[in-house]
Amino acid sequence: MAVSQTRDLGLPLIKLLRLKGVPILQQLHLEERLLRTSSDNWCIINDGTIDPTIVMGISGKPQELLEIESILRDDIPVIRRFTGGGTVIVDQGTIFVTFICNKDAVPGLQSYPQPIMSWSSLLYKKVFQGIGDFRLRENGILRAWRPQVWRECESITKNRWVHHTSFLWDYEISNMGYLKLPKRAPEYRQARDHLEFICRMKDYISRSSFIDRTIEAVGSEFLLRSAELEDAHCTLGSKFEPSSRLLRKQELGEAIFKSLTASQS
């Protein structure tokens, strides 16, 4: 009794929104709106998204990152999201976990990219405790683990930040063929292609167990309050227009042209 009272005292409140199969563009729009117009802390868990979709970071260049001809042939949607970072292909085998927080929500955490990533790594360390062969990265910085089962990225505003992660609970090998090896790959990647670099989380943990463990880990740092999607929409400012968007086929076609022009020059 005394322990649970201590845990509840002084912990910041976070609203937990559990979704299933929400399209990734809809999720990104919701996240960006909550980042810009809400003053609450949020943890959003989206268990899978409906259709395979490619999601690039804010500055991603399709001609450098994507096998565009295959993407156009197979009619795979490509989204440019509002956060930084690299390119992922997501589908129903992906589990998304997003934190949207006020800058003072986590005591002692500076709202800069590396501290936020280090904080999230510590949280996910709790999730994966005792499972598989996950080890913390070197370089004195807590990073994603080997084998790679997640991709993370962030956006930071004056008073709030968002950190979202896509976990590869499962994936289709054929989908990885839509992505090129990025030029700006992190050092730990060492020019390995996607298949060499990632693994399926389902080989280590069940879907429900991962989500339960994540919620438990979040509960160790925040006071959880369940929320519904309607609650999230009620808090949103109506004037804000999110910037994440679907790229048009014409834009992808132009990217092929740029790629051909660059290779000829």
Binding site: S59, T83, L109, Q110, P113, I156, T157, K158
Partner: protein, 154 residues
């Protein structure tokens, strides 16, 4: 040679005055916002960028999202973003006015923000509405202390 000595030599060559505090450089004649942007006001024109403290904490900048020329900026509000390690971070304007020039070199060389945050890494030039707005900003001493206090808290 220490970085402090290099900084002193560079300042002497460029004929700028500066203070060196810890690892982040602060330039004496600029004004600073608590969101780590600097502004240099000359008449009704202002130049804006992010500070050495900011670029150091953000990491290698790989992309700068610039506003359009002619866009209005408002003190304290976001006008663009920098992308560094897996993150975008808002750039907030320390002054209100109209954007008259953007640093187009940042499109090909975003790393200028890291290498030269107060000189060639400038981000926008603004025709300012109200020069009195700078009174709400910090001078170099205040900003240095602000950075030290902020870093000490974490």
């Amino acid at each position: 040679m220490s970085s402090k000595l290099w900084a002193a030599r560079a300042a002497s060559y460029l004929k700028i005055s500066f203070q060196y505090r810890g690892f982040a450089t602060v330039i004496k004649d600029l004004k600073y916002a608590d969101s780590h942007e600097w502004v240099k006001v000359e008449g009704n024109s202002a130049t804006v960028g992010i500070t050495d403290h900011a670029q150091d904490h953000l990491g290698d900048v790989v992309y700068v999202e610039l506003p359009d020329e002619g866009a209005e900026v408002k003190q304290g509000a976001s006008f663009g973003a920098v992308e560094s390690v897996k993150a975008t971070s808002d750039i907030n304007s320390p002054i209100s006015g109209k954007v008259v020039e953007v640093n187009t070199k940042l499109s090909d060389s975003p790393g200028l923000v890291n290498a030269s945050p107060y000189e060639s890494g400038w981000i926008i030039k603004v025709e300012i509405n109200d020069a009195d707005e700078v009174k709400s900003l910090m001078d170099s001493d205040q900003y240095s202390k602000f950075c030290e206090e902020e870093d000490a808290k974490h």
